[in-house]
Symmetry: C2
Subunit: 656 residues, 2 copies
């Protein structure tokens, strides 16, 4: 009899009812008892699929039967897909891709006037931008805990910030400022979501314009932290009430807001105090070597509550439409303070109690743990060791830290559990390191496959982490999945945190997008709506002035075009024939007049690039010019009923 | 002690080692033996997650440990996402979304000159089309069996056909013809992939142009089956060698090619012999009622080998650039024959042996099984019962069928296993019906959740189905998953076919797109490449004439613009500074000069909407006009190494 590898004796016994046989044999004189059907079925399944004991344990911890809900939802950035990915935990099933910065036709996102308007908010340098490099999602918080209301996410490339309403899982707003030319430490929120913070990565001439970095990098290039004010009642960012804090061009990296004892502060890494700008065909080294010349960079400590006061007191200067606290002001008024941090750090993460600020060394083997108590005391005492070339006071490194923990190669990001442990991703070592926050001692390491970037634990960056689960967000997949050509999925690995030793539960390919960061929220905190209110415009949240009710469908020729007031219901559109003349501007107003959950309709017009998704109750507007004469089928694109194919009609464009 | 529901006695015994205890108790006088740690761990896991015996069985049949490959890959259409979804079976993990008709920035699809060129092939009516309603994927076949080389898929809306090369899982070609205005029975292939067939759904004036359906529907509106010639050596459709067969405006629906004994024939359903066209505000009923007035529609039987001969013999007429066999010719020459089929049928599927043509009744409770032997005999004998109004001969229904099977409410699509069974989806009853093809008897029914559309079995539409697995592609999800707002995922349910009774294994949400059809292929038939050859243009498959080698990076100002010859390697671009003048046309030629598997780089220029993905070996070209002066960071968007953030530079656009 051949046993699958990895089965321990007790499991073999268990699987075949061997224990029974042994027990029975002992008192029956060697006559084997019959085995139960279920027992041999289990054995067969294990053998057939070569499952080890650990595999079976993992299978039972992740398998989620039909109709069973997941315990957590994970919101992951989609990287340069420009979308957000919603993943159930522990099943690791993807529940939704949310269109954020990239038009997405299944959701009709970017195809109707409503969502075109959202995307238009993200135009940069006179260009429509049809993608984004989404990096760090941030759930809205109340008192430092996820409240399940909103999700924010930054676009590193363009740079922009999006607001997603978790009432309907759709993007409501995109904002940008020409003050800056990229971001990375975005989005993160202050503990009550007063502000959503967006921090630059690659510096550009502050507020736009041209400057040659070979000549004016130090003088003209700048970074900044933009504090976007969030109006929770409206569910929108208020650009007019937002402000920025100017930074030297040190190439700021990740960032986090203080909480509890560190509330009012925000922390920003930097990786280029060398002031390098590339130029590898101009006699300079590439950034990869020039950025890492110095042994120390600066952790930026921003007292944002003080910044807020100064802005209110009129101490800000308006640049590119944004109120900016200039460097001189921030340095002089105690808004901005530096403390050295080891060699090109990457992640900065504040501990659940707000006491510790953990910095991942990236090119150092340590996690460095700063103490907010010590930082506050040093600032209060005016104990600065120097000033940087821009006049920003610098605290002494050794007096600002509580200690360092020797983690291993390439520490990046840190999350926390409910047992006082921290979990840091080590990119170069490709492991998760579990360590005691109190003792600064490594307790366990778990290999990942491969090249872990961020990691996320259940509510693991809040004031009250849950423990239980962690996802390693691995950058390379290599041999983990069936081959799908030269562009591979990323690999999310679900890790069990419920025992002293971590264990791997599940490998999950990410089929589209390269997630950076993610946040994992208890699922029962989310209360999305099932349907829209009748006539609701999802972007305004109000009944549309163009709402169409049943039996009031009509076509009206007005000065600004032919208005078609249409309803959709299983299984027809009314009207189902639209007659216009070549050259007409056509304005469609369509209501899905159903209120049944999941009774979505689509509406498409062939060859006119028109395609929207209309959820129950939703009102949608589409404007186009009928510039091509002919007959164009229009139909419902969402399989809504047995007579779905019959939910169709024609756009008739009569030639001039 | 509380037991989770659904645990049978034998499983409870198994889980807690109860059998051992019972056995042991019997001879130890009541003293319970200690339980193994693994045993109690299993029990705990089952209890903690309330798993039934069936759940555990299903978990073990689907759980796929780290590094283990899936047995099958399923290629599913993404509906109006315009993409194709690649799913591993039995793990039901999504391995990749392939950009097909919709630009997709993670893949850089639609952002470089190569893929912009592919998408340009799909322009219609003078419009760029940035979405599609992908419906039916078709894997390339050799002798009626999947060969793992290519995948084709139709766009119902616009209507178009795409060619995906499974060597690298990317879209190589999109074709369209203005002959028709929509498709549905697309794509399907003839048994050696000589042709990929695209069949109309909603009729329009043949070849384009305007005609009022209220006056000229019968005369001017037409359907067609387009037989796109596939050049397997080139891996491309050859439009010049393609042809179409004209159909009456009966609103053709699904379609399938004959195989083995029925090779040379193709079969097309129709649902609107009533010649309805809507007009519910013009005194006509909606299509949903007018389409289903008649009891019978026509199954279209096309002898495509004869059609091919006639086209070669010059009997075709060129309309909208396509060679067309007109109705009169097809009717007279025996290319097109009708046979009645019950009430608005939907799916038509040819059995593995090619003998039977199974039609799903949709508004009928039957599956109707036509016999190719009978059809051939009737045609040979000229035994027609009538002609339709367009002169097409009609075979007698009763003499053309082998029988009917009473399936239940709303039969749609049928797949097959290796045991002589057929599986039909019943939309209204929301079940899968298993039935004996030989006996025409229903053997089993399995409820699905909810509203099953298509279904797919392992290689289930080929000459040699595998059995084992089936996926029910359900249109509504309702209460199956955590709520994610008014737009819900679809629900793919994996079904175990290995036993006489079907059983449910897994519920899988589709997070983006509304898949229609899918095909499931044995994974080991696919042999994708790991990396591109150095300098390869993925669309031509050749070394690019603009290939850039290491140390030959340069900038050249030419008549047509500034050419930047750039390389990407971990972790820098060379050059990393691009200096141009406002208004310059810039032509980037970028090579990823790595050959390491998974060493993908991205390349983005902020605020210029430039973003590409460059796989190892790949050459990519990007053209843009530097119409905005300023400084624009450019960087690698794919986390490639520890110094990935440092893989950056600047586009410097000097003002005029």
């Amino acid at each position: 009899m051949h046993w699958p590898t990895g089965l321990s004796r007790s499991w073999i016994s268990l699987a075949i009812g061997g224990a029974f046989a042994v027990g029975a044999l002992a008192c029956s004189g060697g006559k084997s008892a019959p085995r139960g059907g279920a027992q041999s079925a289990l054995l067969e399944a294990m053998k057939a699929r070569k499952l080890s004991e650990a595999d079976v344990q993992a299978a039972l911890k992740t398998y989620t039967p039909t109709g069973r809900m997941d315990e957590y939802l994970t919101f992951a950035s989609g990287g340069h897909s420009g979308q957000v990915i919603v993943i159930g935990v522990p099943s690791m099933r993807i529940l939704k891709y949310i269109g954020v910065f990239t038009p997405e036709p299944w959701q009709g996102y970017g195809f109707d006037e409503q969502t075109k308007g959202v995307l238009a908010g993200g135009r940069r340098a006179g260009h429509d931008i049809t993608w984004a490099d989404t990096h760090h999602p941030a759930l809205s918080e109340t008192a430092g805990d996820y409240d399940g209301q909103y999700l924010f996410i930054g676009d590193k490339a363009n740079p922009r910030l999006a607001v997603i309403d978790l009432a309907d899982f759709t993007t409501k707003q995109i904002v940008t400022t020409e003050l800056i030319g990229s971001d990375h430490g975005a989005a993160f929120v202050t503990p009550n979501t007063d502000y959503i913070v967006e921090t630059t990565q690659y510096p550009v001439p502050f507020g736009g314009g041209y400057a040659d970095p070979a000549k004016e990098y130090k003088e003209k290039y700048r970074g900044a932290a933009v504090f976007w004010k969030f109006d929770r009642k409206k569910g929108r960012i208020d650009p007019a009430a937002s402000f920025a804090v100017e930074f030297p061009p040190y190439t700021q990296d990740l960032a986090d807001a203080g909480k509890l004892v560190s509330d009012g502060y925000a922390f920003f890494n930097s990786i280029n105090t060398e002031l390098a700008w590339g130029g590898n065909q101009e006699g300079q080294p590439s950034m990869e070597s020039s950025y890492s010349k110095s042994d120390m960079d600066y952790l930026h400590i921003v007292n944002w509550k003080k910044a807020e006061e100064l802005v209110a007191a009129g101490k800000a200067e308006t640049i590119a439409g944004m109120k900016v606290l200039r460097l001189e002001v921030s340095a002089a008024e105690g808004v901005l303070t530096f403390v050295p941090e080891p060699k090109s750090p990457h992640g900065v993460d504040v501990s659940p109690d707000g006491e510790d600020i953990v910095v991942g060394g990236k090119l150092d083997t340590h996690g460095t743990v700063y103490s907010i108590a010590k930082i506050k005391a040093l600032i209060a005492a005016g104990k600065f060791e120097s000033k940087d070339p821009y006049g920003v006071p610098v605290l002494p490194f050794k007096e600002a830290i509580r200690g360092q923990v020797e983690l291993g190669l390439g520490p990046l990001h840190t999350q926390f559990d409910n047992q006082g442990n921290a979990y840091t991703s080590l990119f170069l070592e490709t492991v998760v390191a579990k360590w005691s926050l109190k003792d600064l001692k490594v307790l366990d390491k778990l290999p990942t496959h491969y090249n872990i970037g961020h990691l996320v634990a259940a509510e693991g960056d809040t004031v009250s982490p849950d423990g239980g689960y962690l996802i390693a967000m691995n950058k390379w997949a290599l041999d983990r999945f069936n081959k799908v050509g030269p562009l591979l999925p990323q690999n999310f690995q679900l890790v069990d945190l419920s025992k002293p030793k971590m264990s791997l539960l599940y490998d999950m390919p990410i089929p589209l997008g390269e997630p950076h960061y993610a946040q994992m929220i208890k699922a029962d905190k989310l209360k999305p709506v099932d349907v829209y209110k009748p006539g609701e415009d999802p972007i305004t949240g109000e009944k549309s002035p163009e709402m169409v009710e049943a039996n009031k469908e009509r076509v009206e020729r007005k000065a600004d075009g032919v208005h078609v007031y249409m309803t959709a219901v299983r299984s027809h559109f009314t009207p189902d024939i639209i007659r216009v003349k070549e050259g007409d501007t056509v304005k469609l107003h369509i209501d899905n007049i159903e209120q049944a959950y999941d009774a979505t309709h689509g509406f498409a017009i062939n060859s006119y690039n028109i395609n929207i998704s209309i959820e129950p109750g939703e009102h949608s507007d589409v404007t186009f010019v009928a510039d091509k004469a002919g007959v164009f089928p229009m139909y419902c694109t969402e399989f809504c009923s047995a007579l779905h194919l019959e939910m169709a009609g024609y756009l008739l464009v009569e030639p001039k």
